[in-house]
Amino acid sequence: MILLYLDPGIGSAIIQAIIAGTIGVFYTIKLYGARIKSLFKRKKDEPNKN
């Protein structure tokens, strides 16, 4: 157990978990979105390379 000099607050910990979860989902969507985008980009670029 960590000894803390400040009370992190149960409400704060709960909302932090919810916020981090929400942001995590958005980041994942963003990440996959970027990957999918880059997939299409590569496909588009390929004919030019040849």
């Binding site: 992190p8 910990a13 909302i15």
Partner: protein
């Protein structure tokens, strides 16, 4: 090296954290690490985290020393951190300084997570400035070993110490940052939530981290705390995503453009011809060289032009001004040129008090900085006339702070004086009374006329 055996003096601000404390012995600053924190401290070193943070000056470097403490059987180790020229407090910082301190805290947290550690807290007092413009983390004992799923215990403190005041500064005005001074813990979430404009409920970051956060804390504060650890779990990936999101939110916060203050455009107003200004700069440099001080307070520094002029590697200057936007501008310059200047918000007529436990936890500025020289350029008429403080009182206070004084005297018939309010101080404002008041505590060393004006620049030394 033989162990040092001296009775230490614990620092009055260092008692809350059970992991250790700061103490001073023979003028040297040490940090005691208690046995309870031994694993965390060892992991900080063995994980390579400390070295990474030392390398980019994000964490204050330290040496381990042998130190026998008579009264502490819990001590594991004693370290000697590199001493910084000045300890300043968040309520003395401008918006940009608080913002940079916030970003440093988040960056340190992220690097810590990379190395399997996490910050136990997020106190703004854990950040100081090195070479004026570079924030540095000073609490070596803030790091603890990260356990998968754990929440960041410092999240609420981060929101109170940084996010709430920065949001208020951004959405309302920088004057709201002064709320910091009325509490040792930044701005409470309910207060920030109440003060922020309604539309901040529609912005995801302010809605989540301030409004919703505040409501949830309030809701759960009346509930009995369960003794389980199931009060929220976060995967490391999500925690890192939240830290990134907080960083981009803080990066995007800027001073509210509507903020207008008295002195922000002082520099643009022309009180001096170019010739006078150059001559004043030459005289200031010469007089400072004559004194050769190690520490200087430039009171009423505005954007810090003269502070930067006289600062060098061995001489640091506290560049003090009452106006948050002038300090902001000053900080911007200091960041650019990496100067040994410390811009701070400071009101001469209401100086930073000692606050906190036993009035010792956060000390007044005169306890934290002992300058050899005070520089008061184009200042005394404001104090004597606008604030009605007699010359003799100014001399008494200044001479209690520093041995030397460089002071500019603006004659009574100067346009600047004529535009000041008609107070009792204005009626008695003249060179004769100036001399009478000042020479009560000082002797005159030099008195120069600033070319192209009737203003005078004086060097005075305190009489013993």
């Amino acid at each position: 090296m033989s162990p040092i055996k001296i009775e230490p003096q614990n620092h009055p601000a260092s008692f809350r954290d059970p992991s250790g404390y700061i103490f001073e012995s023979e003028g040297v600053l040490y940090r005691n690490i208690n046995a309870i924190c031994a694993d965390d401290y060892n992991f900080l070193l063995s994980s390579g985290l400390a070295q990474t943070l030392f390398a980019n000056y994000s964490l204050v470097p330290h040496d381990e020393v042998e130190f026998i403490q008579q009264n502490n059987s819990n001590s594991y180790k004693v370290i000697q951190p590199q001493r910084l020229p000045l300890i300043s407090y968040p309520y003395e910082w401008c918006f940009g300084q608080l913002k940079d301190a916030a970003l440093l805290t988040l960056n340190v947290l992220k690097v810590a997570l990379d190395h399997g550690m996490i910050l136990k807290d997020a106190s703004a007092f854990n950040v100081q400035f090195r070479n004026g413009g570079n924030p540095i983390f000073i609490d070596t004992l803030s790091f603890t070993i990260y356990k998968e799923g754990q929440t960041w215990a410092g999240y609420k403190q981060f929101c109170e110490h940084f996010l709430a005041p920065l949001s208020l500064g951004s959405f309302l005005g920088v004057e709201y940052l002064s709320l910091w001074k009325s509490s040792l813990d930044g701005v409470s979430l309910p207060m920030a939530s109440q003060l922020l404009p309604w539309y901040t409920n529609l912005l995801p970051s302010t809605f989540m981290h301030i409004h919703l956060h505040s409501k949830t804390v309030e809701f759960y504060s009346s509930k009995r705390k369960p003794q389980t650890e199931k009060e929220g779990k976060i995967s490391k990936r999500n925690l890192v995503a939240m830290v990134d999101q907080l960083s981009s939110f803080v990066t995007g916060l800027n001073i509210n453009k509507k903020t207008k203050t008295q002195w922000q455009d002082y520099d643009k107003e022309t009180h001096y011809s170019e010739k006078s200004r150059n001559n004043k700069a030459t005289l200031v440099k010469e007089l400072v060289a004559q004194v050769a001080p190690r520490a200087v307070w430039d009171i009423g520094a505005n954007d810090g032009f003269f502070s930067r002029l006289i600062a060098d590697e061995r001489r640091h200057v506290l560049s003090l001004d009452i106006d948050p936007l002038a300090v902001e501008k000053n900080y911007g310059y200091v960041k650019e040129i990496n100067s040994n200047v410390y811009p701070l918000i400071f009101a001469l007529t209401n100086p930073t008090p000692s606050i906190g436990w036993a009035n010792k936890e956060r000390e007044k500025l005169t306890n934290r900085s002992k300058p050899d020289l005070i520089m008061a350029l184009a200042l005394i008429h404001h104090i004597v006339i606008t604030h009605n403080v007699p010359f003799i009182e100014v001399a008494k206070y200044f001479s209690s702070i520093a041995e030397w004084l460089i002071i500019e005297f603006v004659p009574a018939d100067d346009d600047k004086i004529l535009s000041l309010p008609n107070t009792a101080g204005k009626r008695t404002y003249n060179r004769e009374n100036f001399d009478r008041g000042l020479l009560h505590y000082y002797k005159l060393i030099a008195d120069h006329k600033i070319e192209g004006s009737d203003r005078r620049l004086l060097l005075l030394r305190k009489t013993v």
